[in-house]
């Protein structure tokens, strides 16, 4: 029978049957795992919930349950528990987890009872009460997850959106809410490739399994084993109480008192709350504490409506030129706060793991067997607090990178120059940026003075006996921009000698040697490192603009010729680009002195390549739009949104100059800026941070990673400044 069947039928069956089976499989798996969340509650009910909790914590009478839509919302039952958390400077000082499927009004009543009985909450001072913020998570859906293979289990919890739970055979249930996974730094802890230690993605399965097992009071068979029972995920609707705002100031009251500058043009706090705050409206006047305020000299104020939280983040300010400008100023102020005006010793810590390995103090709640080790770090005058951890208010200064330091100095110089024309930015603020840039360049000059790098009319920045090209290339960029932006010429001679070092390091074919042995005055032209060729080319282009010395332009041209020519010769480079943003920026900086078409094509090609990796509306999660990534499983990092966008700005300007306006690049730039602004630290979205004032303006690593290295801020801020006029008013 089958043998007599026509060939086309055979082929149709051979392809069709497996195809149908695979389609059925796909549909069945998607149907099994996809969540179907119930609708969350409206702004009125959110306001009522938060107001009830706040009133109880302050000893006031709770509001009565209103009728209408709010009343209906409060009568609803949810498929899982309701989590109520009170944060005070990053610490959880109160936590309540309700039973599932109870009416919300009853849950709130129970939470208030528990809150009222809590001695630590009752004893809060007015200052602490103002600094504290309630966060509520309502479970909207629960769903199954696979526990094997481990990689799928690790990816089974959407970072920042999902919580994870364990139901034991005895019916006991333990939960870890999305925020807890975030602030314990557990959403990116899995190493899919055991041999690549740095690459982590997905849930830290071992740690989560341990915590859930302890909460559910069950034993695990081994350190990495899963607890007995059924793991599941759940999605919540989160909302957080707005930060305290002093009446008439528009900035939050900072309990540490460290932030002295108050509200100014850079503060976007009011933007956020007015544009996006809960619909219940307006600043709530806190009359109950007025008398005490008067006695203690505290300023009166209140809070705006609760804010919806997605992935630990509150709604962003409305995207326009004003909010981007505010973001730039905030970022600049963060960099200034990180800058040591005099030598300081930071009280820093490390976590010692049970196996003796040390890791940065990134989260407050340690795992069993881990302990905190005090390791003070010294910062020299002009150095930056290299990596800041807002969840613990701690730092890492080890592995201090001179190129990144110089990048931050460059960022401050650009801030000082490009913000000058804006009347809304006070003069003192611009001057502070200029001073900051000068101070951080002085640190580099000090390294030159103390180093041994001396040559015929050249010098370089070095720490030890060997240095790299980037450690001098980016300082040249910083100095040239400082001179161009501020007119201050005090570092000019240093910049010239350092630029000469770049000439010295250039090969005959235009490429650069990346390593220099200072002790033996020897170039290593075999080792190739990321970024440095582009940085050196940009530095020479800028040096030409300042000195008008044709040697620098010729060297920049040779560098660009190599990087847009021979460098792209291998087959793989016909499909891919590397970390070539500095080259694209240099291609723009040499315009109009060098008008080679291929420079522009390189810049366009780089922007196009990045554009293909950029998340757009409807592709994944809304808060990923504008970020660069390849799948929604790995939240896009913020730094590329800065560095690649600075290159995109250069490419767009080049296209305009050449009469080839690329509107697609313009939209790419705007999307990236909105992504940066959305994730920048503001008072509203810093409820998990120990010192919100210290973190204000920082740009975190990713939507789910809170550490802030100084170059994350520099790249993003400089990109936004360079393209500020491209943002709609």
């Amino acid at each position: 029978m089958a043998a007599r069947m026509p060939l086309r039928w055979k082929v149709t069956l051979a392809v069709g049957i497996p195809g149908v089976l695979l389609w059925v499989l796909w549909s069945a798996v998607v149907g099994w795992v996809a969540l179907d969340p119930v609708q969350g509650i409206g702004p009125g009910a959110r306001y009522w919930v938060i107001e009830s909790l706040r009133a109880t914590s302050e000893g006031r009478t709770r509001p009565s349950v209103p009728a209408g839509t709010v009343g209906r919302d409060l009568a609803r039952r949810f498929p899982g528990p309701v989590f109520v958390t009170l944060y005070l400077r990053g610490r959880v000082i109160f936590r309540f987890v309700s039973k599932p499927r109870q009416p919300l009004s009853r849950v709130v009543a129970d939470a208030c009872r528990s809150l009222g009985a809590d001695a630590s909450v009752r004893s809060l001072s007015t200052e602490d009460r103002r600094a504290s913020r309630f966060k509520v998570d309502l479970t909207l859906a629960q769903g199954p997850i696979l526990t094997k293979p481990r990689l799928l289990l690790a990816l089974s919890v959407v970072p920042g959106l999902d919580g994870i739970g364990l139901r034991t055979a005895s019916g006991r249930v333990a939960y870890m809410a999305p925020d807890e996974l975030l602030r314990r730094n557990l959403v990116t802890g899995y190493r899919p490739f055991k041999f690549v230690k740095e690459f982590k993605a997905g849930l830290h399965v071992g740690a989560v399994a341990g915590i859930l097992a302890r909460r559910a009071q069950v034993e695990r068979s081994g350190k990495d084993a899963l607890p007995p029972g059924r793991l599941f995920r759940f999605r919540t609707q989160g909302f957080v109480e707005a930060p305290w705002v002093e009446t008439g100031k528009g900035s939050i009251l900072i309990a540490s008192g460290r932030e002295q500058e108050g509200a100014d043009a850079g503060s976007g706090a009011s933007d956020v709350a007015i544009g996006q705050g809960g619909g219940a409206g307006g600043v709530r006047d806190d009359t109950a504490s007025r008398n005490e305020e008067g006695r203690r000299g505290l300023r009166p104020g209140g809070r705006k409506g609760p804010m919806v939280v997605v992935r630990g983040n509150t709604p962003p300010p409305r995207f326009n030129r004003r909010s981007v400008l505010a973001a730039c100023v905030r970022g600049g102020r963060y960099m200034l706060r990180m800058l040591a005006k005099k030598p300081v010793v930071l009280d820093t810590h490390l976590i010692r793991e049970p196996n003796g390995r040390l890791r940065p103090y990134t989260e407050q709640e340690l795992l069993p067997g881990e302990r905190l080790v005090r390791r003070p770090s010294r910062l020299l005058r002009g150095q930056f607090g290299y990596i800041y951890y807002p969840l613990t208010n701690d730092y890492t200064t080890g592995g201090y990178s001179l190129p990144r330091h110089a990048g931050a100095a460059y960022g401050l110089a650009v801030l000082a120059g490009l913000l000058r024309p804006f009347p809304s930015v006070p003069r003192w603020q611009v001057e502070a940026f200029r001073k900051g840039a000068a101070l951080s360049i002085e640190y580099l000059a000090e390294r030159v003075r103390k180093g041994r790098c001396r040559g015929p009319d050249f010098t370089c920045v070095s720490f030890g006996s060997v240095t790299d090209l980037g450690s001098t290339a980016l300082p040249v960029v910083a100095i040239m921009e400082y001179v161009r932006m501020t007119g201050d010429r005090r570092f000019l001679d240093l910049g010239r000698r350092m630029s000469n070092f770049l000439l010295f390091m250039q090969r005959g074919d235009g490429e650069f040697c990346h390593i220099y042995d200072v002790a033996h005055n020897r170039k290593d032209c075999k080792t190739t490192l990321l970024y440095y060729s582009g940085e050196a080319t940009l530095a020479l282009a800028l040096a030409y603009k300042v000195f008008k010395d044709p040697r620098y332009l010729k060297a920049a041209e040779a560098g660009l010729d190599y990087q847009t020519g021979q460098y792209l010769a291998p087959l793989t480079m016909k499909f891919l680009y590397g970390e070539d943003h500095w080259t694209a920026i240099a291609a723009h900086e040499v315009w109009p002195f060098l008008k080679k078409k291929r420079y522009a094509q390189f810049a366009y090609g780089f922007a196009d390549f990045q554009q293909r990796q950029q998340f757009v509306q409807g592709e994944a999660f809304d808060d990923y739009v504008g970020g660069y990534g390849i799948t929604p499983f790995f939240p896009p990092h913020l730094t590329p949104a800065g560095s690649r966008t600075e290159a995109a700005v250069a490419a767009y300007r080049l296209s305009v100059a050449r009469g080839e306006r690329r509107r697609d690049i313009l939209h790419q730039i705007r999307r990236a800026f909105s992504y940066i602004v959305r994730h920048q630290v503001r008072p509203e979205n810093s409820y998990m941070f120990v010192d919100p004032a210290m973190a204000d303006g920082a740009v975190r690593k990713s939507p789910v990673k809170f550490d802030v290295r100084i170059d994350y801020v520099q790249h993003t801020v400089v990109a936004m400044l360079r393209g500020l006029d491209l943002v709609p008013k």
Binding site: A3, P18, L21, L22, L25, W26, S27, A28, V29, V30, G31, W32, V33, A34, I145, L146, L152, L155, S156, V158, K194, R233, R612, Q613, E619, A620, F621, G629, I630, T631, P632, F633
Partner: protein, 162 residues
């Protein structure tokens, strides 16, 4: 190439009535199975050894079974024919199972994240293409050839069946 020309040539001309010719082609398939078995074994030992001991043993046993099957097919005869059908069927099933697992994993992540992303789609398609190329292609040709009426008839004649 020789193998492909044999298969295509027989298909087009429908002249593969020669018993010894059919048997020769089956031996060629046997030789390929033998080589592929070794290739799988070397890949599982040196390139991608499994971290899981059970899976590691299964990959070794499976590869060795294909080597043995190839050797039996090389020896020829009716047993070799049926072993050829069996090993091709097994590899086709394995190929389908691996593709199904890739699809299921993709569906699982799609269900979780609500989107799959271009990168993940490319990686999955790349994975499927690798599985089909390395595991599926040979047994497709082998099975298609062995189940041809002419080949089956020639084996019946050679072994004296009616």
């Amino acid at each position: 190439m020789l193998l492909l020309s044999r298969v295509v040539g027989c298909g087009m001309a429908r002249t593969c009535q020669e018993v010894d010719m059919s048997h020769k082609t089956v031996r060629i398939f046997g030789g390929l199975d033998f080589l592929f078995g070794w290739l799988y074994l070397l890949i599982f030992i040196y390139a991608v050894p499994s971290f899981d001991p059970t899976v590691r043993i299964l990959t070794y046993v499976g590869s060795i079974a294909i080597i043995v099957a190839g050797a039996v097919m090389l020896a020829g005869g009716r047993v070799g024919y049926w072993v050829g059908v069996g090993v091709a069927g097994f590899l086709l099933l394995l190929c389908f199972a691996l593709v199904a697992m890739l699809v299921a994993a993709a569906a699982y992540l799609y269900g979780l994240y609500g989107a799959f992303g271009k990168g993940a789609t490319y990686v999955t398609l790349f994975g499927i293409s690798l599985v089909v190329a390395y595991i599926g292609l040979l047994p497709i040709f082998q099975m298609a050839y062995l189940l041809r009426r002419e080949v089956r008839t020639s084996y019946r004649r050679a072994t004296g069946e009616a």
